[in-house]
């Protein structure tokens, strides 16, 4: 896609790839991300933000943020991605550019613990309730250990006993 050449001239692009003829992947630095997004929106017709996603690269100590944009006229997608430090992941919000980014950032904040400075609702609970552990979509969150600590070990027979009790009660009720 020609847009990649123009991006390479204007911004610091650390990697790019054409995945399909209607999908390109671009990697940039945190400093240049918002200029790239604004440039793509204003001059290249990538008017719509499709989604923001986060990937945990635990062994590299990085979080990857992917911003997926869509050009309705040329029918093309572009994914712009950056890497953040995993220890203290902070980034700027982009909800002033696209309003729906607010909810995507809120979800990433809850699930990965990335802090989006300036997002007004990111501290509100979206999906989880009273969550005190580390953010659950991080790869070092152990689901099995969490459920053992939270709900205890399951006794395999208890279900059968309850079912038996219910069926006995039902028989009793029918006899009346």
């Amino acid at each position: 896609m020609e847009v990649l050449n123009r991006l390479r001239e204007k911004f610091e692009i650390t990697g790019d790839k054409v995945q399909r003829d209607d999908l390109a992947l671009v990697e940039t630095t945190g400093k240049d991300l918002i200029p790239v997004l604004v440039y793509l929106k204003t001059y290249e017709g990538f008017k719509t933000l499709v989604m923001i996603s986060c990937v945990d690269w635990m062994e590299k100590g990085k979080f990857q943020l992917s911003y997926n944009l869509w050009n309705p006229e040329k029918k093309k997608n572009i994914i712009v991605k950056i890497f953040l430090d995993r220890e203290n992941p902070v980034f700027q919000t982009i909800y002033k550019i696209w309003p729906q980014a607010e909810v995507y950032e809120r979800e990433i904040h809850e699930m990965f613990g990335v802090n989006f400075e300036g997002n007004p609702t990111q501290d509100e609970e979206l999906i989880l309730e009273d969550w005190e552990e580390i953010p659950p979509m991080r790869r070092d969150f152990n689901t099995l250990r969490y459920s053992m600590e939270k709900f205890g070990e399951r006794e395999p027979k208890s279900g059968i006993i309850i079912r038996k009790q219910i069926s006995e009660q039902y028989d009793e009720w029918r006899r009346k």
Binding site: S53, Q100, E102, E125, P136
Partner: protein
């Protein structure tokens, strides 16, 4: 919140809302002054679970992300993996997949057509919708073994070929559905209550469509011809002959008209698919799926569900499990960003019709 305002929760258990989600509203008299969507009642951590499973084991899981229309999930995930692993699927498999997708779109639209009437208190079409949908579920049961969750589409193609005489039975059901539709139209479209309530309801400013990323029937009701089947033709859609349906009213009535015409389009597409379907193989040879490793890469695949653009963002790292799968349903934007803004200034009684018009599906918001 002043003393003149009342705070009210609509849902999570409420006959008018679409699944388990709740809308918190502030009311001044009958008018909503502020709204906030609350989700989380259905969270089962699909995306997290998929990171711990080998690719083939995720297929019984992905179809559960959207209950009424599971095939979009399977098809998207399979297509993403095929793209990353470089697998070409046979021509017939593409056509069978398209048939399954269109059948599932049709059954969802029929159920929705009853549902929009139900949200305004017309309870007869709800029963009709669920009843007529069942004939299509019978077809699914014959084809895949399951009525709701099919687990039929898999990487490389589809699990089994069509049974003998299946095409005729599909056409028979299509004729039956087509015969029934005028009765629906009479009870819904020609109903004065429906017309009065839906015309002008949930008026969406046109500039919101590109700005917020609205897709599907919502965007098409605003006059934007956005349809993934045309914009990014996948599977057998490039070989099918159809036009994108648009209306220009930007309100709930236009969304109803778009979806009503989509039913006709789906029936037409299914007839075209059956007519043009080639013979041949239905499954490409795969490596041993229990030890299947996919090279590192990332991709975004999408398809047109009944609610709009449905996307899967798949990242692999060279191991036998996905690094990250992000399911992006259209309801995430429609049900939170758009709904919260649309409800302001509306009457409390119109919350259910607006939600059903946007066709919010909570399970796909909180995968």
């Amino acid at each position: 919140m002043s003393k003149e305002e009342v705070r009210l929760f609509i849902g999570p258990q409420h006959p008018g809302v679409t699944g388990n989600m709740s809308v918190e509203v502030l009311l001044r008299g009958d008018t909503i002054t502020w709204a906030r969507t609350h989700i989380g009642y259905l969270h089962r951590g699909f995306e997290k679970l998929m990171e711990r499973k080998i690719f083939i084991k995720s297929f019984p899981l992905v179809c559960r992300i959207c209950v009424p229309e599971p095939d979009t999930n399977e098809e998207n995930f399979a297509r993403g993996l095929e793209e990353l692993a470089g697998i070409e699927i046979p021509e017939r498999a593409k056509w069978i997949r398209t048939l399954v997708l269109e059948l599932s779109r049709l059954q969802m639209f029929i159920m929705w057509y009853g549902g929009i009437a139900g949200s305004m208190g017309l309870s007869t079409p709800v029963q009709w919708g669920i009843g007529d949908r069942d004939y299509i579920l019978d077809l699914f049961e014959e084809l895949t073994g399951g009525r709701i969750y099919h687990i039929y589409i898999m990487p490389g193609g589809v699990r089994k070929d069509l049974p003998e005489g299946f095409e005729e039975r599909v056409l028979k059901v299509m004729d039956m559905v087509e015969r029934r539709l005028p009765e629906y139209d009479e009870i819904i479209m020609e109903n004065a209550v429906v017309q009065k309530r839906l015309k002008g309801l949930a008026k969406i400013p046109k500039e919101w469509v590109d700005e917020m990323g609205l897709t599907g029937p919502v965007a098409r009701a605003c006059g934007f011809p956005y349809d993934v089947r045309k914009d990014h033709p996948y599977e057998a859609y490039p070989h099918l002959d159809f036009d994108v349906i648009t209306e220009d009213g930007c309100d709930a009535w236009s969304m109803l008209l778009v979806r009503r015409r989509e039913i006709d389009l789906s029936i037409d597409l299914i007839r075209q698919i059956i007519e043009k379907m080639p013979r041949g193989e239905f499954l490409a040879p795969l490596p041993n799926v229990l030890y299947w490793k996919i090279p590192p890469g990332e991709t975004y695949v999408k398809s047109e569900s009944t609610r709009g653009e449905y996307g899967f963002y798949v990242v692999t790292d060279g191991s036998d499990k996905p690094r990250r799968v992000h399911v992006n349903g259209p309801s995430f934007v429609h049900g939170i960003t758009l709904l919260e803004r649309l409800l302001v200034g509306q009457n409390i009684a119109d919350v259910a019709p607006i939600m059903v018009s946007l066709q919010t599906c909570p399970p796909e918001m909180e995968r």
